[in-house]
Amino acid sequence: MSTSSLTPDEITAIRKALDTYLWPEAAAVDALYIVQQRHGWVDDAKLEAVAGVLGLSPAYLDSLATFYPLLHRKPVGRKVIRYCDSVSCWLMGSDRLAASLRERLGIGEGETTSDGAYTLLPHPCLGACHQAPVAMVADRLLTGLDPADPDTLLEEGDGN
């Protein structure tokens, strides 16, 4: 199987992850994260290449990748916004936050803006319930959000 769609660094990182476990399947999630880290999502060619490095079938690897919401098998925007829609944030206005985001971006949940800038995803409890409502942009957690203000999230990471 071709591994040409992976960089040498990626292959090295995946091989290193393999050392942590008794068998190669166990490194699958780590390996998919490694690829996603640099590309934002995991396309078919990369999935096959990762499967090749791990010695697994692409179908097996895909059965894992599609189980986990943090692994993307479809292209996502440059900024992925995950707003918490679980109970504590809901009590503090996450519905209104979601509505203001949808309106501002002109997209629905699970969609990406046509310019490829944003993807909007509902997400289960982010574990910062005392600071509700909260959301993540990329890997960064933003807390104590104003449900009427979508811009704080959209501008996260710009110019700082």
Binding site: T20, Y21, L22, W23, P24, E25, A26, A27, A28, V29, D30, L32, Y33, S63, L64, F67, Y68, P69, L70, L71, D85, S86, V87, S88, W90, L91, M92, H123, P124, C125, L126, G127, A128, C129, H130, Q131, A132, M136, D139, L141
Partner: protein, 418 residues
Amino acid sequence: METKPLTGRFREDGRAVSLKEYHAAGGYDGLMMALSMHPDNVQKRVQDARLRGRGGAGFPTGLKWSFVPRTPGDKYFIVNADEMEPGTFKDRELMERDPHQVIEGAAIGAYAIGAHTAYIFIRGEYRYAEKCLQQALDEAYLQGILGKRVMGRDYALDIHLHLSGGRYICGEETALLNALEGKRPIPRAKPPFPQVAGLFGQPTVVNNLETVCNLPHIMRLGPEWYLSLSRCEDGGTKLYGVSGPVNRPGLWELQLGTTAREILEIQAGGMRPGHELRAFQPGGASTDFLLPEHLDVPLDFDSVMAVGSRLGTGCLIVLDRQTCPVKMVLNLETFFARESCGWCTPCRDGLPYTETVLRDLVAGRGCHEDLELLQEMIQWMAPGNTFCALAPGAMAPLQSALRYFREDFERYAGKGDG
């Protein structure tokens, strides 16, 4: 003596306690002490301290360890840091603010069961917590706290971090094992129990992260001190949290058995102006609602059980009178339906069905028969009818809501009848 062993070293600025600071506050003394004892005596000390699991089930930790066979061979110790119970935010704080406490606890647990490899299973969203733990692990290896000779003793231990892909089911002990093995994370049949055949088929203990953080202190200061911390038969403090429309939502380390009233009124500063308490969930999304009449119930495992709920994670979710309880239950069931792993039929089909019935009710498309349907769903997904505790947990808030907020359900049901 210390009254807040888990959070006492937290820095005011919120940054992680450094190895130097941790050492200065008696850090790693507990591990040193454990290493000087026979593993059986470490287990005994934890049993004597009456430490019960802080992840939700409340199983006695020392007893859980004692089921691991004493035979030679690979064994594994796993810290469950897959904190995903909605309304719960305690393990994150422990990882981000005092990561060495987690590592020391994991090392003591591993030593007590004879494991030479430990994993900390962290939910994928907790990237900053992972970073704090990785930094602490690097320091620990550099200082000889971990590795081939733990603290210079004849005991080898490696601790690895694993970042999950993010599903609620991964917090279930046996699904976690599948996740860590790189299998689809569905629960396993028991027996065999993980202590006999767990990770990679070897004897394994999985303990919640808060549980593990108690271990250094039990070793260092002893069971008598640990028992004196609590107000009930079980030992220790508990991290209690409050979220919802209160004046000061937050997280506090208090005596195990502190009442809901003290937590809500004193720690959280009471309800926000204009909001009145209607009910609360004592320990996360999967615990039965309790009412204002339960405010003086001590929040310990047995007392909460006696009034028909569970201590769960000890993180309270507050429902006020302005918020519709039926809509709140719909929000909860939407979460559980989405997070069902799909392995067993009652949960895979029953939860989306429940969600749909609730959604129709709220939209004014329901009828009185729907309330009977919901009651039936609770029976189909009762403990024993499903593979794991996810669906019964999902039914807990629904069944208590149907009992306590009957008039709200009836009002919606009446809309569709006409």
